[in-house]
Every structure is written in C-alpha cells, then in structure tokens.
C-alpha cells in the first residue's frame, strides 16, 4: 500500500508468444488429467488445522481409553463384550478401540474429510479459481474425494496402529480373545483386525458419499459435515427400534459393527457382505448425486 512509484514494475512483461495450435485450445503445459494431483490436494488439506485436529483425535483416542481403563477398576468377571476383554492384550485393546470409534468418531472424521472437500473451498472463495484454472468439475470432485479417502484411511490406520502399539506395550502380546472365547494368535489376530479396518473402509463409503453430496449442495463446510453426522445418528436411533424388523437392514448404519464378526471364530460373512454392499450402494448413490449436482451447479460461492 506504500508503493507509488511511477514505474510500477522493475521488469518487462514478455510479449505474448502466439501459442502453438493445441487442438483443445489450452495453454502450453496444460493437461486436464494432470490438474489437481492428489499429492497437491493432500498438501492443501494436511496443512489445515482442522485436518490435523481430526487425525490427532484418532491418534489420542487409544491413549484416552488406556487412561480410562487404568483409572477405572477392573471389576468385571464376565467377558461377553469387547469392553470386557479390552485389557486382555494388545490386540483386544486395539479391537475395542476400533469398536469404540466405529459408530461415532470414525463417522465424524470421515464426514469431516469428505464434507469439507468442496464446501471448504467454496467458503474460502477459492473454488471458483480452481474451476477456472480450469480443473474439470468431475476431476476436482474425484481428486478431492481421493485425497479425503487417503486421509480417512490414514486416520483409521493411525488409530488402530496407535491402539495396537499402546496395547502391546501396556497389556502385552496376548492372543486375541474373540467373541466366543476362541483364541487367535498374533498373525491371525492382526489379520482379523486388518480385515475389520478393510470392512470399515468399505462400509464407511456411505458417509463419505453422503458428506460429499452435502458438500457440493451446501456451501458451509460445517453444515455439510454436521448434516452427514446427523443422518448417521438418526439412522442409529432408528436402528434401535426393533419393531422395524427387516426394514432396518436398509439403514446405512445397520451393519456398522458387522466387522466384529471377524473376531469370532466363525465369521458371518452375510453380515459382512451386506455391510460392504450397503456401504457401496449408498456410497455410489450419494457420489452419483454429488457428481450430478456438481456438474450442473452454477458456482456462485
């Protein structure tokens, strides 16, 4: 604001070179399928406080749980829930941590990463510049969703690994005690936990898709995230009403804890497959809606 030189620039702006005739009329060096690389988008997101806070929550959760178990007495003699067996060993602790995060924390984190994709850019007014760069809309949505997926998976892995590390250090490497008292060794137990993470990754596609859709529909990022979480909570409440019977299978959260089947000796693959299917169907549906909406949207924000 201080500059008031008569000569505004210390350099010459080079003359416009007539661009070679590129068939699509683009500038030299521009290729639509090179715009917004995931790496760039990840850097954009990872430098944000919100992203770090979300990941931090996931990393800290195991420590909080450990603290809770250490402060609280160990006065249960039955072990029919994962909470009862959480302190049996590192793998049980990790399983419990995953279970504790399944229905809310992971949903919130995934909703945060996906709900912020477009709405966040819109709230910074930077969306219009990205689109005018131009980044094709489908590609923008895809790259942002990919980056959000990477962050979500990273968060999930971070939490489970933190829980495993904490648990193995604190409670030792005892075998995983499953829901029907069968015992799984280290490699089998780790495989089951990995399977659980994989299931959650696929199942949570529904909330990812929903948040993505809301993100392109609502320009306020917190509105999109909050609405997605709200839908998840409503679905969980409805799931509690047993009078709904088989209709509950249609609820997106109905199979959210189906991964715990993997901890049993005999796996109910139906619930797992249904969970994956349900996640895929809702995820695809919402993603298609998001794409449809975003491609036709007038960008005013």
């Amino acid at each position: 604001m201080r500059e008031s030189r008569t000569d505004p620039l210390s350099f010459e702006i080079p003359t416009s070179t007539s661009t070679p005739d590129r068939s699509d009329g683009s500038a030299p060096g521009y290729r639509a399928n090179r715009t917004l690389p995931v790496r760039v988008e990840l850097r954009r997101q990872f430098t944000r406080r919100r992203t770090r806070l979300g990941l931090g929550c996931l990393a800290v959760l195991p420590l909080l749980l450990l603290l809770a178990f250490e402060l609280g007495g160990d006065d249960h003699d039955s072990h029919h829930t994962l909470a009862d067996t959480a302190t049996f060993g590192g793998m049980n602790f990790a399983a419990f941590t995953l279970f504790a995060a399944t229905n809310f924390l992971l949903v919130v984190i995934v909703a945060l990463f996906f709900g912020d994709t477009v709405a966040g850019e819109a709230s910074w007014s930077s969306l219009r510049y990205l689109l005018a760069a131009p980044i094709p809309r489908t590609r923008l949505l895809r790259q942002k969703a990919l980056a959000a997926a990477v962050l979500s998976c990273f968060g999930l892995a971070l939490m489970v690994l933190m829980a495993l590390g904490t648990g193995l250090l604190w409670y030792g490497g005892d075998p995983l005690l499953g829901s029907t008292d069968e015992v799984l060794g280290l490699s089998a137990g780790l495989l089951r936990l990995g399977g659980g993470c994989l299931f959650l990754t696929l199942h949570l596609m529904w909330i990812a898709g929903l948040a993505l859709w809301l993100s392109v529909s609502i320009d306020a990022p917190l509105g999109a995230v909050g609405s997605a979480v709200l839908v998840s909570i409503l679905s969980q409440i409805l799931d509690e009403i047993s009078a709904l019977g088989p209709l509950r299978m249609l609820l997106p959260t109905h199979y959210s804890t189906a991964w715990t089947e993997l901890l049993g000796d005999e796996v109910d693959w139906t619930a797992l497959a249904n969970g994956v299917f349900s996640g895929l169907v809702y995820g695809t549906l919402f993603t298609a809606l998001a794409l449809h909406h975003f491609r036709r949207k007038d960008i005013t924000g």
């Binding site: 604001m1 500059e3 008031s4 505004p8 620039l9 210390s10 702006i13 080079p14 003359t15 416009s16 661009t19 699509d24 009329g25 683009s26 500038a27 521009y30 290729r31 639509a32 090179r34 715009t35 690389p37 760039v40 850097r43 954009r44 430098t47 944000r48 406080r49 039955s78 850019e121 910074w124 007014s125 219009r128 510049y129 990205l130 689109l131 005018a132 760069a133 131009p134 980044i135 094709p136 489908t138 590609r139 005690l177 029907t180 008292d181 069968e182 015992v183 189906a258 000796d265 005999e266 109910d268 693959w269 139906t270 619930a271 497959a273 249904n274 994956v276 299917f277 169907v281 007038d298």
Partner: protein
C-alpha cells in the same frame, strides 16, 4: 416319543392347559402359514396358489387287531387329497401323546406337493379307541397294515397292484418307530422316513453306555451294544404319565382312587394303567419299582422295537434324528441305519438341531422328507426333484450373529460314514487325571441333573466325592464333534468299602472355555452299569460311548470328562458304594468328526455379493460411457476466431422466476485490447464474467475463447487468468505458498508460473511468511490479481479489480494493465465507475439490467456523435439561432443548457454563429449522454 403337550410327571403341575395351547398353536400355525404364503407370493418363485388346493375328509374305520385279530378298534383318520388325484400316498404317524392333528401342517404341505396324505390317531390316542400297546406288532402295526388295505381302496391313491397302494410312511418319534415296524412287516410300503425314531426301546429306556467289548467306531454315532443298563426313570415316567393322562386331560383330575371311575378309561383294569394295555402297564410298573427289567419286559420291549424287523427293511429309508435328544439319541438312528443298510435298504441320514424335548423337525426336514417321497414314489403329477441320494447332513450352531440369534449351518457329507467302506474319522485327544474315588450316597440321591428337560445346565453337579474329573489340554485348533465320543475307563471296588460288585456311573463331557465356562456336549449323561467288579480292588475296563452331539469346540477350549455316581434322570442304586474310576486303554477321548462341508442357508451372501458385482459393473460401465462421450463430445474450434481472445454471442442467463440477469449480450475482446464492462451494480457484469470462466452455464448463447467454445472446465480456459469478486486463498498459507499451491493445482509446469514477477506486480514481498488470513483487504485484492496473472495468461478477466485499493495503488494497477495489454495480451475488466473505465480501457461495453446499452472505443463513447452542450445566458435565442444552420440535428433546451446535435458542423461554427447572434457562451462541452444516464443509475444504487 414326541410329546405334543408336555405334561410334568408331578401331580403338582397346574399349567397344562391344552385347549388354550392348541388354539395358540393353531393361531401361530395359521400366522406362520400366512407369513410363509405371503413370503412365497412375494418372492413369486412358487407356482400360483390356485393349483395347490387341498381337500380333506375325515373318516372313522374299524380295524381288527390283537393276537387273533378279534379286537375291534375304531381308528380316526383324515385324508388330505391334492388337486390332482390319484396320487401316491403318504401316511403320517404322530408321536406319543399326540393325535392325527399333530401333523396337520406337514400333511397339508405334502398334499400341496401332490401327495394324498393320510394322518390318523393311533389306538389309545385322540378319538381312536383301544389301548396303547407301544407299537406292538399285534396291535398298532396290525392297525397300520389294515389302514394300508383301506388306503388301497381309495380313489385318491395310486396303486402298484391289487390292494397295494403306492405309499410312503413317515412318522415322528413313536410314529417313526411305527413306520419302521410297518416297513419291516408289510412289503407294500415303498419308502419310509422315520423322524426321531428309536431302534431298540430297551436300550432307550434302560441304556448302558459302557461295554466290556470294544465299541466299534466305524459309524460316527455307534452306541454300546449292552442293554439292561440303568433305568431312565424320569423319561419313562413322563411317557407313562402322557399315556395315562392322555392328551387333553387335566392331570389334576386324574384319579388316584377308584372313586372317579366315570372319567377313567373304559377298562376293568386298575386306573393306574390309564390307556395302556395291561402288558405294557405291568412292564412299566415292574421297571419303575425295581429299576431293572425281567425277561418278559425285555421281550415286550424287543418286540415293539424296530430292531426286530430292520433285517427285512430294504426300501429307501430317510432317517431324521435330533442331535439333542436325551431320549432317542443319535445312536438309535445309527443302529437303524446300519441294520437297514445291511439289509439292502437305501439309507439317507439327516441330523437336525432338536430332539424329543427340544425343537421339533423344522420345515427343512419336512422338505427333505417331501423330496424323499417325491423321488421314491414317482408319479407324473408330482414335480420331479433331483435324487436325494444317500448322503448325510447335520447342523452346527454357529456363533451369535450380527442380526441376533445364532445361525444353524448345515454340513453335508457324501454318505453316512461306516455304512459302506469308509469309516468315520475320529480324533483322539489325550485325557489327564489320576484315578479318583467316587461315592454313591445312600439312597442314590441325585445331585447331577442332566438329561432332565427342566434341568438348568449350571446346576450340573460338582458334589465333592461323587465326581471324578478328567481333562484334555486346550485345543490348538477348532474341532467339530459329530457323533458319539468314546473313551475307555477303568472301574474298581475299594477293598474295605461298601460295594455290591456292580457300579452305576454317569459320564458327561463338557466344553470348557478359557474363562471356565462349561457347557455340556450332547444332551444328558451316559449311564453305565459296570458289573462283576472283583472285591479285591482289581479294576474292570470298559469302553464308554458318551452322549451323541454335534458341537464345534473352539481352539483354546478344553474338554472335561466327568464321571459321577448319581443322576436325577436315572434310577441309581440305593445302597451306598465307593468305587475308583480312572482312565484306561489309550487314555484318550476319541471324538468323531465327519468330514463334511458347509452348505447354504444364508451362509453365502448371494444377494450382497451379486449386488456388489452388479454395482461395480455398473460403475465401470458408466465410467466407460462417460469417457467415450468425453472423447466424442469435444466441439470443433472456430478457426476464424483463433486469435480473438473472447467472443460472446447472444448470451442469456435467466433464472426461472427471477429477472433475466444477462439478456442477449454480444461482446468481443480483441488481442491487445483492454475492454471495460461498465454498468451499475446488478447490471449483470459479474454474471457475464462467471459465464466466460465456465462457472455459470449460459441459458443460451455461446462463448468462445480463442475460438474454442467455453463450457465448465473447458481446456481453453487455461489461457485465461481470472479474478472474480473476491480473492480466494487458503488462510493458513502464506502468499507464496498460496500461489504455489494454486499453480500446482493447475498441473502446469512450475517454470511457466513466474511467481517472482507476479508477486512484484502485486507489490507483495515474496519472502513474507505471514499467513494470508492476516492480510488486509487491499493486500488480498492485489494478491488475487497476482494469482490471475500467474503464467501470464493471454486473457485476463478481472471483476472490479480496483475495489479496496487506494488511489496510488489504483494508479499503479492501471499502468500495469496497460503494459500488460501492450504485450499483445487482452484484459476484460468490469467496473461500475466510468472514470475507472475511462482511464484504463480502450474499449468499453456498457450494460444495464443485463442488456447491452452501448459499446465502442472509450473516446467514441465519451464524445458521443457530434452532440454538444452549450451553457448560455439566453438559451431560447440560442436555440432559434442554431436551428437556422443547415444540416443541424435536434436542438433542445434544458434550463440554462442547450443540447444540440451539430451534425456535420464542427463546434467552432456553432460558437461563431451564437456569438454573432449576441449570445453569451459560458461553456461548450461534448454532451456525455451515456455518463448522464449512467450516473443517474449509479446514483440510485448508492443512496
């Protein structure tokens, strides 16, 4: 023997309310049928309902039975006829305590499949007369033969020959045994399907699981061959109570004295015998009193046992047995299977999760029975089924499901092992534990309560001194037990301690979890009577067959074998005794584990799997289609416009229900031009710019950038740089980081970006590390313009670029833009300030309410078309004077001012004329018609 209405053996019971139960059963059956029918109709897989009409008729027929066939008994029967007759017949025989209505459901289902189905109440039950003779060949079996005679005469039944119906016989429990007995004595029976039937009644009521001889282990469920073991008093009492009380009779009113003869059975024998024949009654009384059987009783039981006729059964036999049946366990079906297979019969074995005191055979079992008869009683009117074969299947309870409840998995093996060739697989687990003394308390009072239907498993005994315990090590792998586990034990008297030379012991096997939770394997305990124990303490070794079970023992669990002296379900010796029980032989427990594979019933999530694959396929397909459309969707460029940065033609943006934001706007930006888009706020300038950048879709019209049509994300837009309304930056990054991040997002080479130059244009120190969030509005604005200039685009689109800048910065910006255009690049900028446009642009497009008002070079617009305004002292005279000029245009007065279109005349001529006319001229200026109109509009906006 299936108890239709379970009645407690104790007189205290007040809860038997059969009528209510029956109506409840009826209601639930109706409901179930409705639901099932609804589900079938919903799924649409079944044939339409009208073809499945079933008609029924009730008949009472007289039969003659007894040793000389002179007892006349009336049998009550119901015949269910399918829509198409004649058809093969199926006779359904009910269980002990039931009557012909017990099997209404299965009967109707079979009739719907096309069979003529006959159910009848056996003698002594329901509305049939006569007394219960426990399936005696002379009574019940004779009755059944005469029912076949009657059946052969009915028009609804297909016959093989004269007086020979095409008939299959199925029965449940007591009825199942009848089907075997009938098949063994009447060659007209073509196929049978006994359910939960017994092979040997004496082994069922007086079992002995211990055998001095080795128990063969070729079949998985072979029991010990001994009989006359330990009296199963609780079950016998229940059966007897059912027979004496009879279904539908309140037990409390059953007389113990002779004073209530009117309600008693039509008989001259003691009322304690109830509906039983005197022979049966005598046998029971003897058993109950002594706990052991005489020769006569054993003969009676043997004659009533299918074992006596299985040598003659060579017809297809489907054996359905309950896996948790403490009354007629798996060993009974095993014996039937072995004997019938040896006689040449085709045997298929099905074990289901249930038994005489738990779950009745379910729809799946009845479906299998229907399939069995459909295949073995072939008829053109019955839908053909694949050959049910001679396989073996059993059910394993899975762990609790996500949905709640635990699934039943059906395991199948190609054949029942041991019948021909291959033996059943067994796994031997070492047992550990030293010999222990067990005491039979005086009176034989039971502390263990297994095998009683009412007993809770937790109460299973741990009474000190009465139980010996042997354990395995924890299992390393899961093990599926399917059949009768076997072990070898040594039993000895203790010198100096009481013993009668024979020990009665009860063995049970438990599955113990890592946390100590115990669950019994198999229903009930295995009673043993070990005789001929030497008084000097030498031991006797016996093979023991434990109760049959199907159970999956998890890894980490161990097995526990307990041997105890008492069991409430059995009659133990009353004399006190002490024995030593220890492991013998291999000191192992041998667990049968039939090699099998799991099938169906929801274990394969077909819906989800196929759905997932279809979905993935759809996604792939739409992706491919989208790619194809993209490839062919590119519109051709206009070569004439290849050097024209921007052309819009008839651009319209209309919002439904609102004002048209942009209406038929055509403008053009040539190379090297700075074009200003001038208009008051709300004129539609920003809308035009957003459409140019592909952010908004035009309602109609077309935009071309360097000849390429603009659509959202059109590649040609990469030659434009833009600043629209407000700058957009990531607040947590610095200026340079923001520019770098943005440029990286465009995917273009870093060398093309020119960060340094652009930051200098913005007047921002490139080394500044402050976050953009802390910037003032002017700085953000400049950074925004800098971002637009990244890569020095050929067309710069700027929306109100000088908003928020102070005058020196505005001045500098003008200079920059001028120099930018001087390089051959073009700038399109919008403003609501004429002065701004006037000083920056060389071309201007004026908009109002979305419409183009004027366009041209700035000088043209400013100068107007020869129109001038004169401020004079006498405007009217001046007007008259000017109108005299030849070729002059319109002249009008406006107060002190005079507006005139001078046409071809230069202003100097007009001044001269006016001066000559004596008019005093204060001022002559070009008339700025547009500015007047424009300022008015702006003024309106600003108030």
């Amino acid at each position: 023997m299936r108890l239709a209405a379970p009645t407690s053996p104790t007189v205290r019971s007040v809860r038997s309310l059969p009528p209510v139960r029956r109506s409840f059963l009826l209601i639930s059956l109706t409901l179930v049928t409705l639901v099932v029918a609804g589900a079938l109709m919903w799924s649409g897989e079944e044939e339409p309902a009208p073809t499945k009409q079933v008609t029924s008729r009730q008949v009472r027929i007289d039969v003659l039975d007894g040793p000389a066939e002179q007892h006349r008994v009336q049998i009550d029967l119901t015949m269910y006829a399918p829509a198409r007759t004649p058809a093969p017949a199926v006779v359904l025989a009910h269980g002990f305590g039931g009557d012909k209505t017990s099997l209404t459901g299965p009967a109707r289902n079979l009739a719907e499949r096309g069979f003529t189905v006959l159910t009848y109440s056996a003698r002594g039950f329901g509305n049939s007369t006569g007394k219960i003779a426990l399936n005696s060949p002379e009574y019940e079996v004779t009755d059944a033969r005469q029912i076949l005679d009657w059946l052969a005469r009915q028009p609804e039944v297909v016959t093989d020959g004269e007086n020979d119906p095409l008939v299959g016989v199925a029965g449940v429990s007591y009825g199942g045994a009848l089907s075997l007995l009938l098949a063994g004595s009447d060659p007209r029976v073509d196929a049978i399907a006994p359910v939960m039937a017994y092979n040997d009644l004496s082994r069922a009521l007086l079992p002995d699981a211990a055998s001095a001889e080795p128990i063969p282990s070729d079949t998985p469920a072979r029991g010990a061959a001994e009989s006359a073991g330990v009296f199963k008093k609780s079950w016998a009492a229940r059966l007897f109570a059912t027979g004496t009380g009879g279904p539908g009779t309140d037990e409390r009113s059953r007389p113990d004295s002779e004073g209530d003869m009117a309600r008693g059975p039509r008989s001259e024998q003691p009322v304690t015998c109830g509906n039983f024949t005197s022979e049966v009654c005598a046998a029971y009384t003897e058993l109950a009193e002594s706990g052991s059987a005489s020769r006569r009783t054993l003969d009676l039981l043997a004659a009533a046992s299918p074992r006596s006729v299985t040598d003659d059964i060579d017809i297809p036999t489907l054996l359905v047995q309950g896996q948790q049946d403490p009354l007629f366990g798996l060993s009974q079906a095993d014996a039937n299977a072995r004997q019938i297979a040896a006689a040449g019969g085709k045997v298929k074995m099905i074990w289901f999760a249930g038994g005489n005191d738990s779950a009745a055979p379910g729809a799946a079992s009845w479906r299998a029975i229907g399939d069995w008869f459909a295949h073995h009683l072939p008829d053109s009117d019955i839908p053909p089924v694949p050959d049910p074969g001679t396989g073996f299947s059993y059910q394993v309870r899975g762990e609790t499901r996500h949905e709640g409840g635990s699934p039943l998995h059906t395991m199948v093996a190609p054949s029942y092992p041991g019948l021909s060739g291959e033996r059943a697989e067994r796994r031997a687990l070492p047992l550990y534990g030293s010999p222990e003394q067990v005491i039979n308390p005086p009176g034989g009072t039971a502390s263990a309560t297994a095998a009683l239907p009412e007993a809770a498993p937790e109460s299973v005994g741990s009474t000190a001194g009465q139980t010996a315990v042997f354990r395995t090590r924890p299992l390393e792998k899961q093990l599926l037990v399917s059949g009768l586990p076997q072990t070898r034990l040594s039993v000895a008297s203790v010198p100096g301690q009481p013993s009668s030379g024979s020990a009665v012991l009860f063995a049970e096997l438990y599955d113990v979890g890592p946390d100590g939770q115990r669950e019994p394997i198999g229903g009930g305990s295995a009673p043993m009577r070990v005789t001929d124990l030497p008084a000097d303490g030498r031991s006797v070794q016996v093979d023991v067959a434990l109760p049959g079970a199907v159970r999956s023992v998890e890894a980490g669990h161990h097995l526990e074998l307990t041997v105890t002296t008492t069991d409430r379900a059995y009659a133990s010796p009353k004399n006190p005794a002490v024995h030593v029980v220890g492991l013998a032989g291999q000191r192992t427990i041998s667990l049968p584990s039939v090699r099998s594979r799991m099938i169906g019933e929801g274990t394969v999530p077909t819906v989800a799997l196929s759905g997932t694959s279809v979905l993935l396929l759809l996604i792939l397909l739409s992706w491919a289609i989208a790619a194809l459309l993209r490839r062919h969707g590119a519109t051709a460029a206009d070569p004439d416009l290849a050097d024209t940065p921007l052309v819009t033609s008839d651009l319209v943006k209309a919002y439904p229900g609102k004002l048209t934001a942009v209406d038929e706007l055509s403008l053009r930006v040539e190379g090297g031009q700075i074009v200003g888009l001038l208009g008051p706020n709300g004129a539609g300038k920003t809308t035009v710019l957003r459409m140019v950048l592909g952010l908004l879709r035009p309602t109609s019209g077309e935009i071309r950038v360097f000849g390429h049509r603009v659509s959202p994300g059109a590649p040609a837009l990469s030659r434009t740089g833009s600043f629209v309304e407000t700058p957009g930056f990531l607040p947590h990054l610095s200026a340079l980081e923001n520019l770098e991040s943005y440029w990286a997002a465009t995917g273009r080479p870093t060398s093309h970006a020119r960060f340094e130059e652009v930051l200098e244009i913005a007047g921002i120190d490139s080394s500044a590390q402050r976050r953009v969030g802390t910037y003032g509005q002017g700085m953000k604005q400049r950074l925004g313009i800098a971002q637009a200039m990244l890569g020095l685009p050929d067309l710069l689109v700027l929306d109100e670029p000088t908003n928020g800048l102070d005058p020196p910065q505005i001045h500098r910006m003008r200079e920059i833009l001028r120099r930018y255009a001087a390089t051959g690049r073009s700038v399109l900028l919008s403003s609501h300030l004429l002065s701004e446009i006037e000083q920056t642009c060389d071309h201007v497009v004026v908009m109002r309410e979305g419409r183009l008002v004027a366009s041209g070079t700035v000088s043209e617009i400013i100068a107007g078309n020869g129109e001038y305004t004169f401020r004079v002292d006498r405007p009217e005279q001046a007007a008259r004077t000017l109108r005299l000029l030849e070729g002059i245009g319109e002249v009008e007065c406006d107060g002190e001012r005079l507006h005139a279109d001078l046409g071809v005349h230069p202003p100097a001529v007009a001044v001269n004329v006016l001066v000559d006319a004596g008019v005093l001229i204060h001022q002559v200026v070009p008339r700025r018609r547009l500015e007047d109109a424009f300022l008015e509009l702006v003024g309106e906006e600003r108030h």
